[in-house]
């Protein structure tokens, strides 16, 4: 201990000698340590964001120098019917997919929260798709849903149902993609499972003593206490859904059309098929603003329905 104190004294002496206090040295060291992140932020985040904002006001094919056209890209966007179509498709994936994922995810989570034999195995089975590659699984589902030779339509046929054309049918293509996305519900299940496990057992015991039914327990205890988990799934689910791209790109291939093409796919096409970087940059900013506004609205609305325990 004495040795240590001596060392502090020594350290203080040397630091004042250099004209820097211990505090200043620590602060300097902090900056050195976090400098990789600062550099990365400037180079890989700030610079691209600023340059894409500038690019959104230009007409630019990335080879010849950009040409300033003011808000031309944004005006063109409003007139571009394909922008609206792809936006509506993205909204469909979100409006149908996210609530379905939350409702079924909650159902499955309650199912696997039971303390019965083999339940851990079932949890792993359900979560497994979430760790697998998007490209490979999209192909697998394309093959499963093959209108002529896929097993899904075969079993529907055995049940006496005339299976739809799935991805090949304009009416069913979007639903097929939502169905495929439901296969990855394991992540949502795990989040709800963590939420369910955190509810104190005593609440249910107390309710049981008071003669509450299972149904009442669910609506009055489980659901309100799960609202933070639901809110989390809602926010992350919507943000992810608004950025749908890969699954449609793989499953539809070159036949992605006005019935399935999501907004990001259209943006990608503009950038890399037509080399219209200026327009694609403008579309990027619109996507960013949409996601930002939707998230902001949810953050404001949460006060009305998300229940946080006070003593925490």
């Amino acid at each position: 201990m004495k040795m240590g104190l001596e060392k502090i004294g020594l350290e203080l002496a040397t630091s004042t000698h250099k004209g820097l206090s211990q505090k200043q040295r620590e602060s300097m060291f902090f900056l050195i340590i976090v400098s990789p992140w600062i550099l990365g932020f400037l180079l890989f985040t700030l610079f691209p964001i600023v340059s894409s904002l500038l690019a959104s006001f230009t007409s630019w094919d990335i080879i010849t120098p950009p040409e300033f056209i003011g808000v031309g890209n944004y005006i063109q966007m409003i007139k571009d019917s394909q922008v609206w179509q792809s936006l509506m498709n993205t909204l469909y994936y979100t409006a149908i997919g996210v609530p379905a994922t939350i409702i079924f995810g909650l159902f499955i989570a309650i199912l696997v929260s039971q303390r019965i034999k083999g339940i851990y195995m079932f949890r792993s089975f359900y979560y497994l798709p979430c760790v697998l590659s998007g490209v490979a699984t999209a192909f697998v589902w394309k093959w499963l849903l093959h209108p002529m030779f896929g097993p899904v339509n075969y079993y529907l046929f055995l049940l006496g149902v005339d299976g739809p054309g799935w991805l090949a049918d304009p009416l069913w293509s979007k639903r097929s993609i939502v169905l495929y996305r439901m296969w990855f519900i394991g992540g949502t299940m795990m989040i709800f499972l963590a939420g369910l496990n955190a509810i104190p057992r005593e609440y249910y015991e107390a309710a049981e003593i008071d003669g509450a039914s299972k149904k009442q327990c669910f609506w009055r205890i489980t659901l309100p206490l799960l609202t933070p988990s639901i809110f989390f799934c809602l926010i992350t689910g919507i943000i992810a859904s608004l950025q749908i791209f890969g699954e449609v790109y793989i499953m539809m291939g070159s036949s992605a059309d006005e019935y399935t093409r999501p907004f990001l796919h259209y943006l990608w096409m503009q950038a890399f098929t037509f080399q219209r970087m200026g327009y694609a940059s403008a579309l990027t900013w619109v996507l960013f603003i949409i996601i930002f506004v939707v998230t902001l609205i949810q953050l404001i609305m949460q006060k009305r329905w998300v229940y946080y325990e006070v003593d925490k």
Binding site: F44, P48, S52, I62, I119, F122, S133, F149, M190, F288
Partner: protein, 282 residues
């Protein structure tokens, strides 16, 4: 009377259990069925492909050799491994060092800078695609693995955030004791804090592996020539090149999934753990 009530209660319990298992197995089929179907297709003869059979003998393992020669598999595996390994190293080293700074050191600019870290976490990844492409085009990095590897060495906001939480849980007295013994900041991080946070580092490694192994959008944007492709991109182009050959396609899909499934089984506890870390509970 009491006995019959008890028996009734028991019967209800049993029938509820049976119903639960019924639904559980049905759901298991939904989640595992597609994978079994993939595997079964990958072993089929191309001519008997269209029979709905789960197991048809003989097994055609040659579909696998065929699939692996159709795409330059080994080359793409090499590219994928370069991306995965460099990302894991970069994330573990740099994110944890930066997190150490935020968790253990004091500076007047620390707070505003951490808010900036949190803010970058909120940027949706899709909106960074075109901006990053513009940057990498400027740098001349298009069609190389650099855009997919270099950013990892500048830390990732989410990992920094995660590690910071863990570093803060370690008592500060440890640092003070180490400092009294003459250890510098870097040594405190390297020799004291890193070993104490091994489980989180493992979690980050597992997720970095999974994300980069499965990444499709990044390679799609930045890579152009086939010899630079990662496996995901190779697989995606597989179906475009030839008439869809489902048996080899499913064989290739199976091969690509195996490492992820393997890591999942080995590192299962980390997957479960990650959920408790992500701030959902506490």
């Amino acid at each position: 009377m009491k006995q019959s009530l008890q028996r009734m209660a028991r019967d209800i319990r049993i029938s509820k259990k049976v119903l639960s298992y019924f639904v559980l197995i049905l759901l298991a089929f939904f989640f595992l069925g597609p994978l079994l179907w993939m595997f079964s297709t990958s072993l089929k003869d191309r001519t008997s492909l269209f029979n709905i059979e789960w197991f048809s003998l003989p097994w055609h393992w040659e579909n696998y050799t065929y699939a692996l020669t159709m795409i330059p598999f080994w080359n793409q595996l090499k590219n994928t491994l370069i991306v995965v390994v460099l990302n894991i190293i970069g994330q573990l080293l740099v994110s944890s060092l930066v997190a150490y700074g935020f968790a253990r050191l004091e500076s007047p600019v620390k707070k505003p800078m951490f808010i900036l870290v949190l803010a970058t976490m909120m940027i949706p990844s899709a909106t960074m695609v075109i901006p990053s492409y513009i940057l990498f085009k400027h740098l001349g990095w298009i069609d190389t693995l650099l855009p997919l590897t270099v950013p990892a060495f500048f830390g990732h906001a989410y990992n920094i955030f995660l590690l910071k939480i863990f570093y803060q849980k370690i008592p500060f007295e440890y640092d003070e004791a180490a400092r009294l013994d003459g250890a510098g900041y870097l040594r405190i991080w390297w020799q004291l804090l890193l070993p104490l946070t091994k489980p989180v580092l493992a979690t980050i490694a597992v997720f970095t592996f999974q994300n980069n192994w499965n990444d499709f959008f990044g390679p799609l944007i930045y890579l152009q020539s086939v010899e630079n492709f990662t496996l995901q991109l190779g697989l995606a182009s597989f179906s475009g090149m030839y008439r869809v050959d489902w048996t080899s396609l499913m064989a290739a899909a199976t091969v690509i999934m195996i490492p992820c499934a393997f890591v999942f089984v080995v590192a299962q506890k980390y997957f479960a753990q990650s959920l408790s870390i992500t701030g959902l509970k506490e």
